[in-house]
Symmetry: C2
Subunit: 535 residues, 2 copies
């Protein structure tokens, strides 16, 4: 049996027996056939000795059982790693960050406690998935939408705690920011409620996120302050209509005006998530390839000239409007006018228009259902086996760097990141047609799925080294990642090192004070307990 570092077999076995007494033997998993289910299917060290694994798992059914688990772990110094539904593929799945931790699997705690479609919030347990809440809302015919990330099987609580994102409106798709209040079990086994939940009898837990005094909630997100057992989340009222319109603009330099105008629209709340793209990505031409893949980097002007000469548009953005039909139409017309005035040659195309509630057929045929608050699993078509992709890769690691939200910022990030891949000796994953992801409100993120290769330790090692190298080069240019695969959490956190890691040291000071034995989610957010700290 693999044991967590510093834990004796006797300690471990005692803990397992106590866990069994606390939650019932059938909810404590120690057999390999069970524990293997907590592996990270996309681990960059898959099947290697260094793969991060759970030693066991325990699945409580109630807050009291979570408290009991934490008390046992504290007493016996067992590192535990809480997961909600345990998805989070590309960022570690359900495997712990500290090898051989005991996973605390919260999927049995799946109560939808309250959904209010006048005040627009839900209060849920960590085991509630987007599918679960969606089904509940449909069954009860409630006038609210959820904002979902790509995979609908994820946990609403877990996604928010990972700083996860969705696809609708700015202040709903930043899922942690859309939360309102939480309940958590602290490392000492105590139960905490934040926001208005701290005031017994308050009916406003899901509405007013601050309560009184400093808000501690954010210590639990991408952190390891405790185990969250309930959370409130703001929901979007079901709009009258959804409308989308595609904008394309001809020149490389048009990105500056395009981003400026779209930022204006979005920050006034006139559009939901803008979806940038480049039609150039679809162009297959040897001359263009030669320009793009020039060994010392591309010449943007030359590519621009090529595109003009061959009549290709350079950038696109899909604008998405939520609201009354006439409002969305007026805003779309306004967007066209603004863009047409600033960008000669811009082309506009009406796309989808749905009146709510949508018919089943409309939902089935919709272009991008998560933009309509409908949870999906269709993201898993990424990298799937197809005619043009006969040997799909084994998984991916997300690299997701925050860049400035301007056209200049995009053009610079393209060059920096392409150069980074060249320097790291990796095939390029960013190029002159790369566009930012815009899930996180007010923020551009350059994201790519690094390939995970299983069964070839040498290629896997090269990929890992490449990933590290890319993190480092990005850091040198002021780009940091917003989220981290566990194997790289220290490197990613380490880039946020202003004043000799002042932020990390504050986090460590807090961790030591509230979890002195360092039992909860060691390593999460780059924060290790004292006895495991490297420096």
């Amino acid at each position: 049996m693999a044991l967590p570092v510093g834990v004796t077999e006797e300690q471990f076995n005692t803990a397992i027996e106590k866990f069994k007494a606390a939650v019932g033997a059938e909810w404590v998993f120690t057999e390999e056939e069970d524990v293997v289910l907590y592996r990270d299917a996309y681990s960059p060290m898959y099947d290697e000795d260094s793969e991060l694994m759970a030693s066991a798992a325990v699945a409580p059914a109630s807050v009291e059982e979570v408290q009991e688990i934490v008390r046992i772990a504290n007493e016996l110094r067992i590192p535990i790693y809480p997961i909600s539904t345990g998805m989070n593929l590309g960022y570690g799945g359900s495997a712990p960050i500290l090898n051989n931790s005991v996973v605390v699997d919260l999927k049995r705690m799946n109560k939808i406690i309250e959904v209010d479609d006048v005040r627009h919030f839900a209060i849920v347990e960590p085991g509630v998935s987007y599918f679960d809440l969606y089904r509940y809302i449909v069954e009860h015919d409630l006038d609210v939408w959820i904002d979902c990330p790509d995979p609908g099987w994820g946990s609403i609580v877990g996604n928010a705690l990972d700083h996860g994102v969705g696809y609708t409106w700015g202040h709903y798709r930043d899922h942690f920011r859309a939360h309102s209040g939480l309940e958590a079990v602290l490392a000492n086994g105590e139960l905490l409620r934040t926001g208005m939940g701290a005031l017994p009898g308050a009916k406003t837990w899901g509405e007013f996120h601050y309560g009184f005094g400093p808000q501690v909630d954010s210590l639990f997100a991408q952190g390891n302050a405790g185990i969250v057992t309930k959370m409130g989340i703001h929901l979007m009222p079901r709009p009258e209509t959804y409308r989308s319109g595609q904008v394309t603009v001809p020149r490389r330099a048009d990105i500056n005006a395009l981003v400026r105008i779209v930022n204006d629209l979005e920050d006034q709340g006139l559009v939901g998530m803008p979806r940038y793209s480049s039609p150039m990505n679809a162009v297959r031409d040897e001359g263009l390839s030669a320009l793009v893949n020039a060994p010392d980097g591309w010449d943007g002007d030359a590519i621009d000239a090529w595109a003009q000469e061959h009549g290709h548009m350079y950038w696109g953005v899909l604008l998405q409007f939520y609201g009354p039909e006439r409002t969305t139409l007026a805003t779309w017309e306004y967007a066209k006018e603004k863009i047409a005035a600033a960008i000669p040659g811009a082309v506009f195309e009406d796309r989808e228009l749905y009146k709510m509630p949508m018919t089943d057929e409309q939902m089935h045929n919709a272009d991008h259902r998560v933009s309509l608050g409908i949870p999906q699993l269709e993201i898993f078509s990424i990298g799937a086996r197809t005619a043009t992709n006969p040997t799909p890769r084994d998984g991916h690691l997300w690299f997701a760097a925050v860049i400035p939200r301007s056209g200049e910022g995009v053009l610079e990030a393209q060059e920096v990141m392409a150069k980074a891949f060249r320097e790291a000796g990796m095939p390029p994953m960013f190029g002159p047609f790369s566009t930012p992801a815009t899930w996180m409100y007010h923020t551009f993120i350059f994201i790519t799925g690094f390939p995970v290769v299983k069964g070839n330790a040498e290629v896997a090692r090269q990929n890992r080294e490449g990933f590290s190298r890319i993190i480092e080069i990005a850091r040198q240019h002021g780009y940091g990642e917003y989220r981290a695969p566990p194997a790289f959490v220290d490197e990613i956190a380490g880039a946020y090192n202003f004043n000799d890691n002042a932020l990390l040291r504050l986090n460590e000071t807090i961790k030591d004070a509230i979890d002195p034995n360092g039992i909860i989610a060691a390593g999460r957010g780059g924060i290790w307990p004292k006895h495991l700290r490297k420096s």
Copy 2:
């Protein structure tokens, strides 16, 4: 000389000399004529022995000077109380919570570091007021608006750190939520940057609020984790137009449908801050007065019947629209249709319509300039001497309780709060026509200014006891305050006592770890250092 508790005269004098060496003698204030300027003009203990006072003040000009002050305070155990511009009237002004603390006055640190009108943020020091930033934006002709609270002399940083609010769009008027990253001096004198500011060279400090790992920023708001020396804040793009429309509805029960529809509009981002009112407040009639002031509480149905009989409308709400002219018109028409369909007898009136930029005359004549992002001091007309108010009161304490955001919530809060005032033996400040403040997004707040009386200790004492009693009765009904005058901070924080004050205990644990000598802002957020803790 009045000394802070536990500090000897020698310690204190040594500290003063060291402060002088650190910032220059002219920026350390110990003479009564100077220190008196830090009194809370609205103190509920004004001129009484128990009035909370500064013992001295020190005004640093730089981050390094703040660090030096903190190190001196730490060495000599001097309690310090940071203020930004030191306004915050009705919630304590610039006086400390712990009597005889040394005020650290940050008003000299007033640099506007960056304003970006493409990416829509500013980065400012704590001494920058709304007036300052407004002037800067006008002078540089930038396409951004600020969201300001009522008094424009307040600090952008300070207001955000007090969970202050403004008047425009939901996600701008919650000022702390609109922040992005901060710099702070910790109790150990170390300098911290959060969010992307923790990554040296990042250009996205004012854009992406999380950075990586747990976000510690909120520990500094309504808390005492350190002294904030810089902060990023999201700004709203200047809209094409501002439009407002008044809705009035006839019946008391119409509040339910009205709030439901306005919540829908607001949570879809279609309107800015809704301004609820009741035309009944302006009705002067003895019969009505008798109904309202019935000794055991009013009969809502009887008042409703009286209003119907006399042809008065019961509720009003001003809807405010920001955006393109046609969008705002379409949304206003939509709002009318929705409300007319749900509430027979609803009346609609077009109010203001301004195309940006406004003329000076328009700005001068506008109904409510803070809704247009124009900082003011006109709030101070509240309670001023007028023909009908010949003996204005001496100040006010804000009582501001969070209630559910529904019509039922409003009607219940009216009764609960009116009863609370009767039980406390106070003149009623809430009645059957009271409507909620809606500054804080997703939240209704019942607010009233409790009179501050100077020069009559007995009346002042009665008022203080009344205030305490109201807090307690509100608590029993699940209502808690979102902000606290210093004299009542423990009572207000004490209502958030779930699980034997688990939240307070967590905050105390963190405080002890990061400020072991308890020097910074003792008592803020109800959090006291160990040596001053009551229990």
